[in-house]
């Protein structure tokens, strides 16, 4: 029995079946169909989920944070008069990140740019007294705001009542750090009140070390009108004479 003429003598011969190498065992047709269906559902669900996420993000932009909501509810209740909401905006890190990215192409004052870069979340609510409603009891509103904020772990650092203007600034009782600053403020002027809350981080890249919180009378026309109070990092508290 000799070896075939075309095979080298003494060499190992590996015989591979051509059918097993080229055509792996294929799954049954039912499994293939369910996998395809899963892919189809996935493809359909992804844009829907993205749409839902975007919708939730946009909705949250008009939904105040829990502290601001609690303050608003208590103030409205204690004032005993009707208020009309003018603005309620809540910028989270995503929205502010988009704003920061957009503003990076705009020529801005370095101070303003530093402030925008420092802020990680911000909420603002503006309310106006309904026409014909009497002026609310400011002292009572002040006391109510204090108790609402204290119950939520905030403490008032500044409270100013001067004529028709009222300003109160709160910081958290605990966990205050130069790297994570959390400030809440509400101002009441003649027939309007506004609440602000922001979280900021210290911006190391900027030369400016200040973060100013400014409240203005709505009738002053511009932000640089007559700020009764400013708060900054290097100069935490400042009361300017307005009269």
């Amino acid at each position: 029995m000799g070896a075939p003429a075309n095979e080298p003598t003494g060499a190992a011969v590996l015989k591979i079946s051509p059918s097993s190498a080229m055509n792996p065992t294929s799954p049954p047709p039912a499994m293939r169909r369910s996998a395809r269906r899963l892919w189809l559902w996935g493809l359909l669900a992804t844009p829907l989920l993205l749409l839902l996420l975007v919708g939730a993000g946009v909705a949250s932009f008009f939904h105040l944070g829990s502290d601001a909501r609690a303050l608003r509810n208590e103030l409205i209740k204690s004032s005993g008069v009707e208020w009309r909401q003018q603005i309620a905006l809540n910028g989270n890190w995503l929205a502010l990140g988009a704003i920061r990215a957009g503003l990076s192409f705009v020529n801005l004052d370095p101070g303003a740019r530093a402030a925008i870069q420092s802020v990680r979340s911000a909420g603002v609510g503006v309310y106006q007294l309904a026409s014909g409603a009497p002026l609310p009891h400011r002292g009572a509103m002040f006391v109510t705001a204090d108790s609402a904020m204290t119950a939520r772990g905030w403490e008032r650092v500044v409270g100013v009542l001067d004529g028709e203007d009222l300003v109160a600034i709160y910081v958290p009782e605990k966990n205050i750090s130069v790297h994570h600053l959390n400030v809440a403020c509400w101002c009441l002027t003649e027939r309007n009140w506004s609440s602000f809350q922001f979280k900021a981080i210290r911006n190391r890249s900027s030369n400016t070390r200040s973060l100013k919180l400014t409240c203005t009378r709505p009738d002053s026309g511009s932000l640089s009108g007559s700020p009764p109070i400013a708060m900054s990092n290097d100069i935490p508290l400042h009361r300017r004479q307005t009269h």
């Binding site: 650092v157 130069v178 210290r202 009361r239």
Partner: protein, 200 residues
């Protein structure tokens, strides 16, 4: 056996320490001015309360550029300022209240450093509390301006009256700057008059 005794003993000492700390309450140089209710008739009302958390935050921020200011901010544990505008309704009550605060400060062993009463009726009192003879533990300032307002200031920490203006500048509290400048002026007048007075 020793371990069995040592651990409960350590826990008891720790618990006692925590207990005493809780019982210790506010520092002795913290003055309780009482609660002021903001007036509703447009009268002035200012309340500023900066505790050690915020002061240390401010110190951290200025540390590199202004180490002296940071040291000053760290030496203070509390800055409390109250300004209440005087009206016909609250004048008598507020004046009585400030007199009571001054009486309490005297009774609690505070040193009455400055007492000024000018012909316009403005009445200023500056009190300090020392700790261990040398260092200051606190400062209290009471001002009654019958035409305008009552001002109450309490600073807890090792701060001299001459440093109040610097603290006011660093915290940017106009009122502290003004009071500090007045205190500095009073101190310099005091020094000049004592230098001018011949030694007997």
């Amino acid at each position: 056996m020793k371990t069995i005794i040592r651990y409960p003993l350590a826990i008891a000492v720790l618990a006692a320490g925590v207990g005493f700390n809780v019982l210790a309450g506010p520092p002795p140089s913290e003055v309780d001015f009482g609660k002021f209710t903001p007036p509703d008739d447009g009268g002035q009302f200012v309340e500023i309360q900066i505790n050690s958390n915020l002061l240390s935050l401010a110190a951290q921020v200025v540390e590199k550029q202004q180490p002296d200011a940071a040291r000053l901010l760290r030496s203070v544990q509390l800055v409390h300022v109250n300004v209440v505008g005087l009206t016909d309704e609250n004048r008598a009550e507020m004046t009585k209240r400030v007199q009571r605060i001054r009486h309490d400060l005297d009774a609690q062993g505070w040193d009455h450093n400055v007492a000024v009463q000018d012909k316009d009726g403005q009445d200023v009192g500056v009190y300090t509390k020392t700790r261990g003879g040398e260092a200051l533990a606190g400062l209290a300032v009471t001002v009654i301006d019958p035409k305008g307002q009552v001002v109450l200031i309490n600073i807890v920490g090792d701060i001299r009256p001459e440093q109040v203006a610097v603290l006011g500048e660093k915290l940017n509290i106009e009122l502290l700057k003004d009071v500090g400048a007045a205190l500095k002026e009073a101190a310099s007048k005091d020094t000049t008059s004592s230098e001018a007075t011949p030694q007997k």
